[in-house]
């Protein structure tokens, strides 16, 4: 476990988890906004307009889906390896009574 493991205070651990939750929900809003609005505007076929291909795919697929997907991948890596904090999951660290596990 890394050096910044949170132990000893369940409250701190809970607040950190909540902070991560807010970040994650905000990210979802950004990516949903990007793909839904871009493809909604550009994905439909216009009469008389030739199909535009980028990398063999319709243009709207690349700019509305593939590129945000690559950004999403990058954000997930950054979130998991940088933003998210390690927490000691052992209940003993918080001085709570452990349940009757595996009774």
């Amino acid at each position: 476990m890394s050096d910044d493991v949170q132990a000893g205070d369940l409250g701190i651990s809970f607040r950190q988890s909540r902070k991560e939750l807010y970040f994650m929900v905000a990210s979802w809003v950004v990516f949903a906004g990007w793909t839904i609005s871009y493809v909604g505007l550009k994905g439909g076929a216009k009469e008389g307009e030739a199909l535009r291909l980028v990398w063999g795919m319709p243009e709207w697929v690349v700019y509305g889906i593939l590129i945000p997907w690559i950004f999403g991948l990058g954000l997930t890596v950054w979130f998991a390896l940088r933003f998210m904090k390690d927490t000691d999951l052992d209940p003993a660290a918080y001085e709570v009574t452990k349940g009757e596990e595996g009774k």
Binding site: L10, L51, T76, T87, L89, K103
Partner: protein, 623 residues
């Protein structure tokens, strides 16, 4: 035959892993080991079991059939997966693991029961898990049987066995209408999964998931390379797709041509026929022209409408010589996209039923939310989030799952848009496009043995989902009903026997339920996901992040979520006469269930007495 051998080698490996898992679990607390792998799951195992469970039969059977039917618009439908690892794992994983350890819970209903110290919450959660999970099991069993049937097609021993079985069950209630090949494959598939799941428990499921996850990834990569090579590059495939128009649906009578002798003629499903005018149709089911008769009974078919597809079928020599057809009754065209080139390369995509096309902006939004939040709300994923050993495992797994989903879902869209070019007329049985594609790609590449591995990919997806669902349902019955409410003092031997028994019985009930095969595989999967997400997502979010939440609020939210989904599916059935959802204001039932559930949990919790300080401190600390 070589494909069959490589496929059975894969199956044998699954059993070996289950055996090793069973051995590894000895001398540990039975329930904790059997249902949770002793909470000691590492990075590879956690990431791949999570991803493999997510990539179910729907991903490898239903999803390809949708891509084939609706074209590139499916990229929009599935694109929510770009942030699924971030959202679905980031939303609950760390807290659910922590809270389940504090509560000493090994199942989801148990976690909720202890978090709120309420039997009502735990019992309701158990009922909801068992109810909705059963629909999942049904869909996966059907998918497994279908894949196997495609693989075994043409094997003489199998065909005689299937014929014998069909004769045996003919006339029996419920199963009498099922085709022999489906029934035989269903039994073989189900027995294999039930046996290794029962024997090995959670650890076997996780280990086999790891292997199955790798098989899926390798299968997709190989298929991608073969598909792109055989269509002459993605650009070429997309250009051809942009010229295609959807087929028409009709009923036909097959007639003898001038040369046909008046003897009995059996005409199999999938046969191509040409009309006097040069039109091409494909039969949706088998038919027969009796001896002395001039024509068959009326049978369903599709008619191609794209000129170069018609030419391609003729050039391949696939048309049955010496026979023609008469159209009977009306010809049905697509409600959106009929005779419209470009419909497969743009949104909303062609639709047979909906005049507004396959995917509108609101449906795209619904699915972007659905894949992320309904995914987070699935008990089968939640229970995995209770099993990882530390947060470092979680963080690394998120990265792995993100790459894994990117490697699976986007390439699947590419592969099955290519399938439209390589396999015309698959609208007659779109759910079989995946195994058919595997077969055609490997035959064209001169490597038929590889079909076994490629077909093993969707088979692995189905297996890894079935085993997880089986365990979830049996843990609900054993831990949450028997041990909590019937016999709290049961000893380990009794629990062990009951667990094995329940896992087998639940599996067998699932098999009996699908012996009369359900018609809509993907609809069934989406319904079960929506139902489970509706029942568990918001109750779990509130349970983990809001200390003011009360048991009454959670019960209300869980019931309201589940009932909203059920009501909107019932409305959908009443509207169309088919199993499917009603899109109130254009939004999927899951979205409405989340709204209703959130409001009820919040209002009822605020109106009730706040939970005691001891309970709050136990799960939230001094915050």
């Amino acid at each position: 035959m070589t494909a069959l051998i490589s496929f059975f080698v894969y199956l044998a490996l699954v059993f070996v892993l289950a055996g090793i898992a069973n051995h590894a679990g000895k001398n540990k607390s039975f329930l904790n080991e059997y249902f949770l792998g002793s909470r000691n799951i590492g990075v590879w195992a956690f990431a791949l079991t999570y991803a493999a469970t997510a990539a179910s039969g729907g991903s490898f059977m239903g999803f390809p059939s949708l891509i084939y039917t609706h074209g590139w618009s499916l990229a929009w439908w599935i694109c929510g997966y770009m942030v699924v690892p971030l959202v679905a794992l980031g939303l609950l994983a760390k807290r659910i693991n922590q809270v389940s350890r504090i509560a000493g819970a090994i199942t989801i209903p148990e976690l909720l029961r202890r978090r709120f110290e309420s039997n009502a919450v735990g019992n309701l959660a158990t009922v909801m898990v068992v109810f909705f999970m059963f629909f999942f099991l049904m869909a996966q069993f059907k998918a497994g049987a279908q894949i196997m049937a495609t693989l075994l097609e043409g094997v003489p021993v199998y065909q005689s066995a299937a014929f014998g079985l069909e004769a045996l069950v003919d006339g029996l209630p419920w199963i009498g209408e099922a085709e022999g090949d489906y029934l035989l494959c269903l039994i073989v598939f189900a027995v294999s999964v039930i046996v290794y799941t029962t024997y090995g428990g959670f650890r076997a499921v996780v280990w086999t998931d790891v292997m199955q996850g790798l098989v899926m990834a390798v299968g997709v990569v190989i298929m991608l390379v073969l598909a792109l090579t055989q269509v002459g590059g993605l650009g070429n495939a997309t250009k051809q797709l942009s010229e295609m128009t959807p087929p028409e649906f009709l009923n036909v009578e097959v007639t003898r041509g001038s040369e046909g002798p008046p003897v009995e003629k059996q005409i199999p499903r999938g046969t191509w026929l040409e009309s006097e005018g040069g039109d091409i149709i494909r039969l949706k089911s088998a038919t027969i022209i009796e001896s002395g008769a001039e024509k068959s009974e009326s049978v369903k078919a599709i008619r191609l409408t794209t000129p170069f597809e018609i030419e391609k079928v003729k050039e391949q020599g696939s048309v049955l010589e010496g026979y023609r057809y008469n159209v009977v009754g009306e010809v049905e065209t697509y409600a959106y996209g009929a005779n419209t080139p470009g419909v497969y390369t743009s949104t909303p995509g062609p639709s047979r039923d909906s005049p507004s096309g396959f995917i509108t902006v609101l449906i795209a939004f619904s699915f972007f939310a659905f894949w992320n939040f309904s995914g987070a709300g699935q008990p089968s994923y939640m229970v995995r989030q209770m099993a990882f050993k530390d947060t470092l495992t979680l963080r690394r797994s998120m990265v792995m799952v993100a790459f894994y989903f990117a490697l699976i879902y986007f390439p699947l869209v590419i592969i099955f848009t290519c399938a439209r070019v390589l396999l015309p007329g698959m609208e007659i049985y779109p759910d079989r496009v995946m195994p058919e594609m595997a077969s055609i790609l490997t035959i064209n590449a001169g490597m038929p043995w590889l079909a076994g591995l490629l077909v093993a990919a969707p088979f692995a997806a189905v297996m890894s989902s079935v085993d997880s669902f089986l365990l979830l349902v049996s843990s609900g019955v054993v831990r949450d009903i028997y041990q909590e409410s019937i016999n709290p003092n049961a000893n380990e031997k009794q629990i062990k026997r009951l667990t094995y028994g329940v896992t087998m019985v639940v599996g067998m009930l699932g098999v009996v339920a699908v012996m009369h095969p359900p018609q809509f595989l993907q609809h069934l999967i989406v319904f079960a996901s929506a139902g489970l997400g509706a029942c568990f997502l918001m109750p779990m979010v509130f349970a983990l992040y809001w200390k003011r939440a009360t048991a009454s609020g959670i019960v209300a939210g869980m019931l309201a979520g589940g009932l909203t989904v059920l009501a909107l599916y019932l409305a959908g059935y009443l509207q169309t006469g088919k199993f499917g959802e009603y899109l109130l204001l254009g939004l999927h039932p899951f979205i409405w269930s989340v709204v209703v559930s959130t409001i009820l949990i919040w209002l009822i919790s605020l109106k009730g007495t706040p939970p005691g300080e001891r309970l709050q401190e136990r799960y939230f600390g001094h915050s």
